[in-house]
Symmetry: none
Subunit: 221 residues, 4 copies
């Protein structure tokens, strides 16, 4: 249950166990003005946000547009999300539901390869690639989004890789004085470089080369 991750802290401690996201089961007419259950409204908003984000992109992502598509009011959106970027990121999460597992096979190079390939697949084979690029782009001028992005997206993902490498160091697989963060920069950062800047192809072969450069080295024997 990861719903509305970025919104302001709120009474998430409601006693109701988990009847979330279920509409009144009948599709009857909206009754107009009064209050609607929070969960329902939020789900509508996030759904609309995700759709708008994936269909038309960040440039066309508008709070008014989300409100209109969600059948919600702008006031409601502003009440729960600080900025356009926060809403967009939340809409992204609601739409994608990525998994965050980082299985440990004992061979850290293989595990890094697996994760990188998954990332490359997400970014090139699904619509998420463009969206992620636009979110990272928007974060450059939206501190709220930048913070949320680091805290909820890139942070956890990269932390997993760092921890895997630390475990590998502990079992003697990697250099003891290795800076794991720098390696992450040289793997994921390389992919982001192609996604955000050069536009060069992001393939599995590219991933293999990245790893090979860091293991075999780039110099001639």
């Amino acid at each position: 249950m990861r719903d509305a991750v970025i919104q302001r802290e709120e009474e998430e401690t409601n006693s109701t166990p988990a009847p979330q996201d279920q509409r009144p089961a009948g599709g009857e007419r909206r009754r107009g003005r009064g209050r609607r259950p929070q969960a329902e409204v939020r789900a509508d908003i996030l759904l609309a946000a995700g759709r708008l984000l994936f269909q038309d992109g960040m440039a066309a992502f508008t709070i008014e547009g989300v409100a209109a598509r969600a059948g919600a009011s702008k006031t409601t959106i502003y009440k729960w999300w600080d900025s356009k970027g926060a809403l967009a990121l939340d809409g992204y999460f609601h739409a994608v539901e990525e998994t965050l597992a980082f299985p440990d096979s004992g061979n850290v190079i293989d595990d890094l390869r697996t994760q990188l390939r998954a990332f490359v697949h997400l970014v090139t084979k699904t619509a998420a690639g463009k969206v992620i690029a636009e979110l990272v782009g928007a974060a450059q001028t939206d501190p709220v989004l930048a913070d949320a992005l680091h805290r909820l997206y890139s942070g956890p993902r990269l932390a997993l890789a760092v921890e895997a490498m630390k475990r590998a160091k502990a079992r003697g697989q990697l250099r003891a004085d290795l800076d794991a963060e720098a390696v992450v920069d040289q793997l994921w950062g390389a992919c982001y470089h192609r996604l955000l800047l050069t536009g060069l192809p992001l393939t599995e072969q590219f991933v293999d080369q990245l790893l090979r450069n860091l293991t075999v080295g780039i110099e001639r024997d």
Copy 2:
């Protein structure tokens, strides 16, 4: 003299040889409406664009704002620049005047280190870092800016590194089957990763680690 690099292809072949950037030599008051020399107007606009960009950032970078500060009219700006991003990038170039030399010392690792350090210095010790990040960010939703950025900024810079590595391969310093572009991604991309995403410190030691990881390798001997 690189002026208005991104502007629409236009009469660059105007007869005036190069009397650019010189104001009417007298500092007299703006005389109001009528026509002014192109070069003078453009210089004003680019100067204003650069200042606005570096002072208030891309979020506050507005065509109207540039026009007001430049004492120019919006019409004139729209005549020469396709998009806000194009004007911003041109303003950046006009303000920074980076050099593009890539000296070849014979040792490609040292040369890469020199270039990377220069890049890190630009990005962390001057105001250009924030601006570059914002330009890259804006490019994610502005195709015109994205194209110009690749064509005029990242492209040439990275091409120099690629060529240097190709020369090193030719003289046997680097692996023959090395993909130079991937190495660039693992060096510059790693830096951009910290600049755009993680916010981790960008230092000379970081640069050294990047190169060490690619030469010594990350695995335990």
Copy 3:
């Protein structure tokens, strides 16, 4: 005890004899949500309405503002008052408590003078003048307020003057064919004209002139 005069016809026949307006005698803290005695809530609301009306004027008079100041909820207000204007008028009455006596001295001219002077005093020397003007103004676009204003404010006051003049006609002091309502228009209406439209000074001398014009006449002898 005229409380909530304009509210919708409601169980005014509640058994509680008259424990109105007395707070729980202890000044303890608001106890939050649950049910409170009607009389207490209404008194709070009317007090807040009156204060808001006299302090900030009709333009800033807001149901939400009254609710917030009264520590009441909007629901409760909507339950008892039809419109913003009705609440405002009720708040005015609760704050002012004008007396409605029209003593009969035997000389109707003197009695009219006394009443007019009292009205002019109220309107120019107290804050009620501005409020009355704003209420009359709001009534032009709020039929509920217009009706309440006629029924509860201007109606009774003017009726007293009309009756006094009818008594004077009966005892031969005024012309038998005199239209008392028209005289009222020429006295009170003249004052309202200055209050609402021209802004000219409203003084006791002005009142005297009004009466003199109607007794001595305006023409040269």
Copy 4:
């Protein structure tokens, strides 16, 4: 040519003689965004404002509504009119085009009667009555409108009556010590009293009584 009387002072001194208000003669399509001639836009706005005011009243008079009906933008309206009330009043003037003559027959009583009857006719037999009442009402909470109303509407009208009475005093028809302003209050103010407050009928007989009360007097002979 009384156009846009309340708008901010502007270059009304344009040389073009008077080709105002004429649309491009062909009813061709709006060409969308760019600039339209000022006169045309203003005429559209005032026309729409007047229609909206007379059809739906001041309560429904909205800047957005006027903009929509006029095919204009809110920005344009805000550029020229300070407040909603100023726009409404201007719309009223544009729609009504009252005449302001005050002929002098030599008998001031007859002249006042004529003017009052005209005013009563305007207020009771045309839609302007309701509109005037609403404008006066709105002026109670809109200082801009109040000022404009005094300056452009009531002021000039009442000044004419005052001057007529001063001329009558000069030729010995009225009391030398008469306060003409007070008489105006007792005539026009009486009518406004019925219009704004009591709702009693405004007829020619009422006008006659007002004048009779001021000439014959209200007391028994």
